[in-house]
Each structure stands twice: as C-alpha cells, then as structure tokens.
Symmetry: C2
Subunit: 252 residues, 2 copies
DNA sequence: CGTAGGTTTGACCGCCTTCAAACTTGGTGG
DNA sequence: CCACCAAGTTTGAAGGCGGTCAAACCTACG
C-alpha cells in the first residue's frame, strides 16, 4: 500500500491509539486496492478474509433473503467495515458492494486477531468500534419500528443537514433508489414522500434538497439523539468527504 | 451477592475466560438484587451505572419515541445486557423492565472498565459479546426489512422450536401483546396471523403452539441462519430456563 | 362470583406496495 | 451538436398488508 495512505488510517478511531509497532506490522501486511463501481466485495454467508477500510469512494452494505434485497447501510471514507465478522469468525450477515470506484485497504483477519491479542489499546478501540456499530443498528431498528416512512425521510434529511453543519441545502449522497431501500421503502414511495414534504418546509430539485422551514420539518421527524445519533456536527466546512452521488441497486 | 451465584456468572462467555483475580475482584464489588415484576430497571437516555447480569426471571428491552413504544428484545438468564452503553459511556438507547420477579447481578461500570483494561482475556470476551450483540441487531433489522409480519411470526415459531431441540410444541415465553411488539406488529395483527398459520402446519391453543407440519411452516418462514441466527440447538432437554409466560407492555 | 386485563373478532381505513406507463437524465455515437 | 438509448425517477390507479377503534370474549385472580 502507498505510504501516503497510512496517516489516514492512523487517524481512525480504530487505529489511533494502538501501539506504533502493532500498527506498522499491520501496515506491512495490509494492501490497498482500487475497485471499480458496482463490484461485489463481500457476499453474505461467506467468511471474513480481510478487515476492510474504505479510503475513497463509497460502499453499500446490503442483505438479501428469498429473492428480496435491502440496503442496510452505506459506508463512506474513512472508516472500517465488517469488524464484527472478523472478530467473531462467523459468516457475513451482509454483502458489500462498491457504489463508485473505491480505494480500499485490506488487512488479513488473522493478523488483525494477532494484533488484538497483543495490543490491548487496539483491543479497547475495537471494542469501542463494535459498541458503536451495535448502537447504530439499535438505532436503525428503532427507526424502523417507531417511525413511518415519511418520518424516516424527514429525519434523514435533517440528519444529513446536521452532518453538514446545519446546511440548508444538501445533496443526496446516493441514488434515490438506494436511499429508498436504505430507509425501508420503495422508490415510488420515496418519490411521493419527497413530494409530500414539499409544503412542509422542504424543496426538492433532483438530488438537491433544501430545507426552507426547519421547524416544520422537525415537527414531522421529531429528531431524537437516541434514534438519530448524537448531535456531532461536522465543522461547517465538511471534512474531505465526497457528498456527491454515484450509482447502485435496490430493495424488496 | 450470594456465593452460589458466582459459578453461574463464571460460566458465562463474558466471564468464562477472564483471569481469576479479575473475576474475584469484580465479584467482591458486585451485588445481587431481586426485583419485582414490572420494574423499570433502566430508562433510555440515562447513563450506565452498572453492567447487568440476569440470573433468574426475564427482562424486556424496549424503546420509545414520540409517545410510541416498542419491544426491542427479551433477555433470559443467564446473560448480560447493556454492555455497549457501559463500554461507550453514552446514554442508553433502550429501556429495560422486568417481566417477572428477577434476580439480577449489578457490577459498577467503573470496575468493569478497570477490569477490561487490566485483563485482556476479559477484553477479548467483551469484544466477542459485543460483536454478537451487533450481529443480533443486524439480523433483527434484516428480519424487519425483508420479511412481512406473517413470515416473521412463522420464523419466530420455528426458531423457538429449534431452541427447544426441535420440539413440536412450544409455549410462548411472553405475553402475546409483547410478542407482537417484539415482532413489529399489533396484538390484533398477531392474533390474525396466528389464525392464518393454522391450516399451514400450526395449531394454536392459548400460549401453546404446536407445529403439525414443519415443511409447510418453513415454506412461509424460509428460515435462514443469516437472519434467524446460527442453528445451535439446545440439548433436547432445555437448560434451566423458564419458558413460561409472565407480564409486560406494548408497541406503537 | 365479579372484576380487570389480555385476547380475539369485526369493520373500517390508511400507509405502502405493485404494476404500468410517462417522463427525465445522462451517456454514446452518428 | 443532436438523436437516441438505457437507466432512473415520477405519476397514476388499484389493491393488500397491517393499523385503529370498538365490542365481545376469555382467563386469572381476588
């Protein structure tokens, strides 16, 4: 892997506090690879070979069953995914696919496990990462069970805005088809919900969504840190992360 | 806490492999307490004081938002809950309430954190526990997004049967009201779904559910280890765990 | 035996999906 | 540069899954 990628990894919560020798040994074995868009990186049911770290691009986690398919989450740089399957040594519960050309660092799970045993700071960080992932999915389950689709969409828009430093205008980071599946609805329903939100504090033009009346939107979404995640606003200017669209698939 | 409770704790995956001194020091500080039915042990939004270990009884994890409420999970002995909030030092995402009189061991989070730092075997076990919890919620989200309510119920019945060593007859472990909320539906809908399953390989009489035609039921549920959990059958005779009903609340 | 709480049943309604067609949009090649 | 095609999105109509409300029915318990 390229040397200029290492500092980015080193800054990650997962790697930030680990000992330098452990980090360096992992980096020696790790390799970075570029994948084209629409490539299936991981298939659910298979076993973990590598811990994945996305450096550039975007990856969609999805799951399928009985011919249906749904988007479970979308991963943006810089972050890791499928840590749980690495730790647990059980099959992946989700598949992963690139949405656009993506740069990904692969670290063999065997080496990750050795590092976890050797470096307790790394183990603690991994634990925190897993706890965070756990909480994210608890939130997702709450979101699905407690809100209807209009409320989920409203909350999503507010959340995206919040992540961009309360920007009035956001650009959807993925195709609407994927967003719909992510939010647990059909593309048709998303389209209608978008229209329904117009006249409730939102203007939509293509991928661009503008909040004209935050209070009215919030009245529908009823944001809650216990469901939408802690209110950690990005600096008003976003960190280097592409908030631009791409390509992808759908839900059942 | 009573000495005769310690071996039960020691057998838990979370505590099994930790060093004896660490375990003993935790046990000295921990205390065991009996709680009446219907007691709110934990309220979402609060911060973690104690790691909870349920020794006897049953506890329901639920979440509420905007006046609605839903059951997120049900915890049976012997297992721990709210590890994630302990590790992360962020507010609980779920509330917890006893369904029946329950014996619970409380371990102060501060001591748990110290033990995690000191004992890397314990840290590894906690990591595995968290990874397991993470995967459980991924499965729950898949279940909610990919199956409809009839399919969820069918899968639930098969799963319970499987956990009882493929027993033909199971007794619902909680009130139907709670089960309904757990499965993401209303009591009325659960009632109708139960009736719908009769004539598809199931006979229902009160809390007793009998599978008369496993194949037909499976045709509806389409069981999948990636969604319903690994096929770890309990020994044909269940471990000491009460599979009997109790009391509780509901969903929105 | 009576009451309270849980469950079932029925009627109705609304959210959301399905299917189908029209309409954009973006990319490609004449 | 424009025409065309493929893919995504929007719109409409119809229907089903599941929710709501209300009443009747059970069941447990005092």
């Amino acid at each position: 892997m390229r040397d200029d990628e290492k500092p980015n990894l080193r800054r990650l919560p997962l790697f930030r506090e680990m000992m330098t020798p452990t980090f360096d040994s992992l980096m020696q074995i790790a390799y970075s690879q570029s994948f084209p868009a629409q490539l299936e990186l991981i298939r659910q049911g298979e076993y973990a070979d590598f811990l994945h770290v996305i450096i550039e691009g975007s990856v969609e986690l999805h799951a399928s069953w009985n011919g249906r398919d749904t988007v479970m989450g979308i991963v943006h740089p810089v972050s890791t995914f499928i840590l749980a399957a690495c730790v647990y040594d059980e099959p992946y519960l989700m598949s992963a696919r690139t949405l656009e050309r993506s740069q990904i660092v692969l670290i063999p799970v065997a080496d990750v496990r050795v590092a976890l045993r050797r470096d307790s700071d790394f183990a603690m960080a991994a634990m925190r990462e897993l706890a965070g992932g756990y909480r994210a999915f608890v939130r997702q389950a709450k979101n699905l069970k407690l809100r209807n689709s209009l409320e989920r969409l409203a909350a999503y828009i507010l959340h995206q805005s919040c992540r961009s430093g309360d920007a009035a205008t956001i650009v959807l980071p993925v195709e609407k088809r994927h967003l719909a599946s992510h939010l647990g609805m059909t593309p048709e329903n998303l389209s209608r919900s978008m229209k329904a939100l117009q006249g409730h504090g939102v203007v939509v033009q293509g991928m661009r969504v503008t909040i004209t009346d935050r209070a009215r939107l919030a009245a529908i979404a009823v944001p809650d840190p216990l469901m939408d995640g802690p209110v950690i606003k990005a600096p008003t200017v976003l960190p280097r992360r592409r908030e631009m669209p791409s390509l992808a698939r759908k839900r059942g």
